[in-house]
């Protein structure tokens, strides 16, 4: 390559060429797909792209690039002229040439040393082989010999547009028409070869004069300089020749030229019609390498066609070939190279203008600030600071926008990869791409290509089955691979799904066992999801054999860690026989991320917003009841789920601190068990909950701050000392010496006070802790616990009237809680009432019916508003404590009395469960008010089967309130007995699921199967409807599912099914 070429211009050439090549690949695939009916415009597009590469590379003297693109151009020309069908064989040859071409263009300075003979032979083979339908290699060889015989070849062609007929031994494309035109004018067409040095330097005339001289004798149509013959700067100046070929139309005969414009006849070749005829369009597009080959062949009498003219490069050939093969084999490496190689970027002028405007504004704001500082005007300073703040935010956004690039850059590469993979494995794969216009930061785009390719390759290689197998499984022979990108909650989600065989968790189990990743017992206990997630563990690869296209020893663990390096998480869901979906969540940008600042001891740690789910502060007096220890794992009860907890101080091995309640002194927190504050080494069981004395250490500062984070397949809580603030941070990498602890940190940043702080990598952290998988035992227990929770969990409103008496109401029965001003309460005829939403409602106190301490005489009290049939009533209380979402055991005997259903321990206190309906009914009865039963219900008898007295009473109360007749049973066995007794009168059954002796499922089954009562509606009521339980219930014959104390919905369901029965 000439060394004097401007680096900048060369870079432009590289950028442009890469852009061209990127388009070409997909276009070629489209051409192949369309076959002979290919859109002409598409071929033209590819042709033009290749042509501009050829043209520009010729200019730079990149002969090999020019040669190769010329060869491609020839084939494309034939395809364009419909002389060659775009078979997949030909397209493959073109594609592989595109590969070679792009690798050469990426390193233009070395491109002239690249051995392209193989590509050229293939190209020639494709070009002629397809025409003569003979075997490719033979054809290649043959065509070579033919060419050697007929001395017609051509230097690099000038812009060849349609209709132009390139001709022989001349570097120009000449249309027959043009020749006719020249001849019509009585002129002849010549190509004349000059040595420019001789003609100008030696003769002491300028280039312009030389050209003018030529113009005097004829019309100069075109010129061509062969740079490959120019030599390099360090060559001997005297030996330098610049070969110039001109295309001249003139009336002069060759004889007359000698002496005037040429020195020897040999320099001149006359172009004749015959020459054009000898090289018709179909055969014509030969190129300079052919000429060169011809030369070599002449020189070394029939060297095999595989050899090239570049004899000097022979020794390097072997290594080059090897390199090339490697390059070809590893599409991914290429892809990565291409993506990481981009050092320049195209941005829209609009963005650039916006940046300019903002910069201008910033300058103005700065001037303003400087000025206001000099006059020391506080108001002005404040204003300009605000302005600068605004401008900088906007500037930040705009700069970020310039870095955003569409995912299509990555996605479009997969067309080729999937195409090649499908070819290589004999599969049929349809690739669907959606959302390729979704934009991500350049850095992310560049770095996701690798792991994404791995996933795509895995899907194509291992996921989608071979056609015969697909057919056997009753699937479409062609598998579908779908890439889908979209925005969700400030993140970009990429989904890669295939409709292949899915991942067999048993297979994973076997492999994991074989590889000794886990002990057998542990594997046995793992759930399906846990097993599937093993694929992300280091040292695991399910590939039966490592094919050329699969794995290459890179496991899914690398994929996962690659994404997590980018602040992303991968999730997997799979179904055997149906397919696999990988979901990747990525942040929009890496440079600046939102995050949460937390602290442990005196160090601050940052948790990226991407991983953040929620923050929980467990008040000190609830720590004991909400946090438990199962096996070795601390867990918290969070909305009927158990969430594993990790103390950040334990993970990081630093001292945790807390503030002493009395002295305010900062002390080391030496708690061993989170849920127990006594520093004991022993696990304190949940029995402690029953201690009725208040916890001595209820203190604000010993509350538990939990950051709930999402680590892909698992969520867990990180316990930190303090949660400080959310902040936008700039991510900086950690140094070389900290690479070992990169599993813990995703990097570092600089905080507002100028100090460095570490960013936690919560995904890897979790993997290192093995929270998800290794604690299978704990997990099992957790699942068991969760089940228990489901049965008994209920939301209770906890209140107090007198300091030592705590009450609880089932929250689901309450419509509202209102503040009551004492003076609004009216007492009429011994009945308390209050205006509530334009209606006067009766107000009750618990002590009206139950024998409890009277309500505290406060100015302001609260009331619970609830509905009983059509009547709205209120019950007063004085102190609101909390809404408890906890597992309680109801003691139904100790405190049994009117208005009270039972008692339970809530927050270490004996709490009375209030019977809302009981209180109201008792008072109404006393006053002689009867609730008139709605007529509709009276004719129906409902059987309620429920083992818990508390629920039975409550449910019965609200159903009866609606006027239905209710009979009750304590369990399934009793229920069946009752049903047999009142077989004809019972029109609907409401049953609990978990009951002693016989559960709801079993009872339902028996009702349906043994009593043959197929149409009677059976409504199951549970504390919490779980999907699996529901499914099981429906299988058993349950008509509907409702939540136990959800009065309105239970009633609605009753009405719905009763009306259906009537019909």
């Amino acid at each position: 390559m000439p060394e004097n070429i401007d680096k900048e211009i060369l870079q432009t050439f590289i950028d442009e060429s890469i852009e061209h090549l990127e388009g070409i690949e997909n276009d070629l695939l489209a051409i192949e797909e369309q076959g002979t009916s290919t859109d002409q415009e598409l071929i033209n597009k590819v042709f033009r792209a290749i042509h501009s590469i050829k043209g520009a590379s010729g200019f730079f003297g990149l002969t090999k690039i020019s040669d190769l693109s010329h060869g491609m151009e020839n084939i494309l020309n034939k395809i364009r002229n419909k002389e060659l069908p775009p078979t997949s064989q030909i397209i493959n040859v073109l594609l592989s040439s595109v590969d070679t071409l792009s690798s050469m263009i990426n390193k233009p300075e070395e491109s002239n040393n690249v051995d392209i003979s193989e590509d050229l032979i293939l190209l020639k083979g494709a070009e002629t082989g397809a025409a003569s339908e003979s075997a490719q290699a033979e054809a290649a060889a043959q065509s070579d010999t033919e060419k050697a015989a007929a001395p017609i070849s051509q230097e690099a062609a000038a812009p060849a547009t349609e209709g132009m007929e390139p001709c022989a031994d001349i570097p120009f494309s000449i249309a027959a028409d043009d020749l006719t035109k020249v001849e019509d004018e009585g002129k002849m067409l010549y190509t004349i070869k000059y040595d420019l040095i001789k003609e100008t330097v030696d003769k002491g005339i300028g280039l312009l004069d030389f050209i003018m001289n030529l113009q005097k004798v004829g019309t100069l149509i075109d010129t061509y300089i062969d740079f490959s013959l120019v030599g390099t700067l360090d060559a001997d100046l005297d030996s330098i020749t610049i070969s110039l070929t001109v295309l001249l139309a003139t009336v002069l005969e060759v004889d007359f030229m000698v002496g005037s414009i040429v020195t020897s006849e040999d320099q001149v070749i006359q172009i004749t019609k015959e020459m054009l005829g000898d090289a018709p369009a179909a055969e014509a597009p030969e190129k300079e390498e052919k000429k060169k080959e011809e030369k070599t062949e002449k020189e070394s009498s029939r060297m095999p066609p595989t050899s090239t003219s570049d004899a000097i490069h022979q020794p390097e050939k072997e290594t080059q070939e090897k390199e090339k093969k490697e390059q070809k084999g590893d599409i991914v490496a290429d892809l990565k190279k291409q993506l990481t190689a981009s050092t320049s970027l195209r941005i829209s002028v609009k963005l650039l203008d916006a940046l300019m405007t903002l910069t201008g504004e910033l300058v103005l704001a700065r001037n303003q600030l400087v000025q206001s500082l000099s006059v020391n005007d506080t108001l002005l300073i404040e204003n300009s600071t605000k302005a600068i703040n605004l401008i900088i935010s906007e500037l930040q956004e705009t700069v970020m926008a310039t870095r955003m690039q569409p995912l299509s850059i990555v996605f479009n590469k997969y067309k080729r990869i999937v195409h090649d993979l499908a070819k290589a494995s004999g599969k049929k794969i349809n690739l669907l791409i959606e959302g390729e216009s979704v934009e991500l930061d350049k850095t992310i785009i560049e770095n996701i290509a690798d792991p994404l390719t791995h996933l795509v390759r895995n899907a194509a290689d291992h996921g989608i089955e071979i056609p015969s197998q697909r057919a056997r499984n009753g699937k479409d022979e062609a598998g579908t691979l779908k890439l889908h990108a979209f925005h969700e909650a400030g993140q970009v989600i990429i989904r890669i799904s295939d409709d292949g065989g899915g991942i067999d968790h048993n297979h994973i189990k076997d492999t994991a066992l074989k590889k000794g990743l886990f002990p057998k017992e542990q594997l046995e206990k793992m759930t399906k999801e846990e097993l599937v997630n093993i694929i992300f563990m280091p040292g695991f690869s399910t590939a039966e054999k490592v094919t050329d296209l699969s794995g290459r020893g890179v496991g899914m663990d690398v994929v996962s860690s690659n994404f997590s390096k980018l602040g992303g998480v991968v999730d997997i869901s799979t179904s055997i026989g149906k397919g696999t979906t990988f979901t990747i969540k990525l942040p929009l940008t890496l440079a600046i991320i939102s995050s949460l600042l937390t602290s442990v001891a005196d160090s601050r740690y940052i948790i990226p917003q991407v991983n953040l789910l929620e923050l929980i502060r467990v008040p000190p007096d609830q720590v004991k009841s909400r946090i438990e220890k199962i096996e070795d794992v601390h867990v918290i009860r969070l909305r009927e789920r158990l969430l594993p907890l990790v103390r950040l101080s334990d993970v990081l091995d630093v001292k945790s601190i807390y503030r002493d309640p009395e002295t305010g002194e900062v002390l080391d927190d030496r708690r061993y068990n989170i849920h127990d504050r006594r520093g004991s080494k022993e696990d304190v069981s949940a029995d402690d909950n029953k201690r009725a004395t208040p916890d001595r250490r209820k203190n604000f500062d010993s509350a538990c701050n939990i950051v709930v984070v999402n680590a892909g397949d698992i969520q867990y809580g990180l316990i930190v000392d303090t949660i400080l603030d959310s902040e936008e941070i700039v991510v900086k990498p950690l140094g070389y010496h900290l690479s070992e602890c990169k599993g813990l940190y995703a990097g570092a940043t600089i905080l507002g006070d100028g100090r460095a702080a570490l960013i936690l990598d919560v995904v890897n952290l979790c993997r290192q802790l093995n929270l998800g998988i290794t604690n299978s035992m704990a997990k099992q227990k957790m699942i068991q616990k969760e089940k228990e929770l489901e049965r008994d969990a209920k939301l209770l409103l906890v209140v107090k009237n007198a300091p030592n008496e705590q009450f609880a109401f089932p929250l689901s029965l309450i419509s509202r809680v209102e503040k009551v001003n004492k003076k609004d309460i009216e007492i009429t005829a011994g009945k308390r009432d209050i205006k509530y939403r334009d209606e006067s409602i009766l107000l009750f106190k618990i002590e009206d019916v139950a024998n409890v301490a009277p309500i505290d005489d406060e100015k302001e009290t609260f009331m619970i508003v609830f509905n009983m049939g059509k009547r709205t009533s209120g019950i007063m209380f004085s102190h609101l404590i909390d809404i408890a979402d906890i597992d309680i055991e109801i003691d139904e005997s100790t405190f049994q009395q009117p208005g009270i259903l039972g008692s339970a321990i809530i927050y270490d206190k004996t709490t009375l469960l209030v019977d809302l309906y009981g209180i109201v009914n008792a008072k109404l009865e006393e006053w002689g008010i009867r609730t008139e039963a709605p007529a509709e219900g009276a004719q129906h008898l409902i059987l309620l089967v429920e083992d818990s007295n508390f629920f039975r009473k409550n449910i019965k109360a609200f159903i009866a309130e609606e006027g239905f007749n209710v009979i009750t049973a304590n369990d399934g066995v009793e229920g069946l007995e009752m049903l047999e007794k009142h077989k004809d009168s019972i029109s609907l059954i409401i049953t609990d699921i978990e009951m002693p002796r016989m559960d709801g499922f079993e009872m339902t089954r028996r009702i349906r199967e043994e009593l043959h009562m197929l149409s009677i509606p059976i409504i199951a009521v549970t504390a919490l409807a779980g999907e699996s339980a529901e499914k099981k219930g429906f299988e058993a014959g349950i008509t509907d599912y409702q939540i136990k104390l959800d009065r309105d919905r239970v009633l609605a369901s009753i009405r719905k099914y009763l009306s259906e029965v009537k019909k």
Binding site: S603, L652, D653, V654, K732, P733, L734, G735, Y736, H737, L738, E740, C741, L744, Y745, G747, A748, T749, I750, G754, R755, A756, A757, L758
Partner: protein, 150 residues
């Protein structure tokens, strides 16, 4: 000696003299990017013991190597005299936490000697390129590449 040759190859014109515990150390001044009194170091839990932490050096996160720990001495609390010597290693800035920086002196190329196997019976001679003899004391010239290589 090979080591001495190496030094001559590296060409030391000036030595920056600093102290680590009671070892008087020298570092080819050409390797020193800056001497800094920024000792607001952020701990990095689970880092190798010789890493004291990280600091913010004008927007860059720089790893601080505790020279005391590297030489096998007890680490001490940060005090007024301590300085961070910033050097470049593998294209990134690394800070050396030293007890105090004393001087920068021009050197005489003939006064270098090969280091002993052990310095003060404790510190491995591998960390040093040579010993520079000065009137009254000996300066152990550290081999920064070896020290910073994990």
């Amino acid at each position: 000696m090979d080591d001495v040759k190496e030094i001559q190859n590296e060409v030391i014109h000036e030595l920056m003299i600093f102290k680590v515990h009671d070892v008087l150390c020298g570092l080819n001044n050409i390797r020193v990017k800056e001497i800094n009194r920024n000792t607001r170091i952020t701990d990095v839990p689970h880092s190798p013991p010789y890493v004291r932490g990280v600091i913010n050096l004008r927007g860059d996160i720089v790893t601080i190597i505790d020279m005391r720990v590297t030489f096998g001495f007890e680490s001490i609390e940060i005090n007024e005299d301590m300085r961070v010597v910033v050097v470049e290693f593998m294209d990134e800035n690394v800070g050396l936490l030293t007890d105090r920086v004393l001087d920068i002196i021009p050197v005489d190329g003939n006064k270098f000697e090969a280091p002993p196997a052990k310095l003060l019976k404790k510190v491995s001679g591998d960390y040093f390129m040579s010993i520079y003899k000065r009137a009254g004391d000996l300066i152990a010239v550290i081999d920064i590449e070896k020290i910073l290589q994990k």
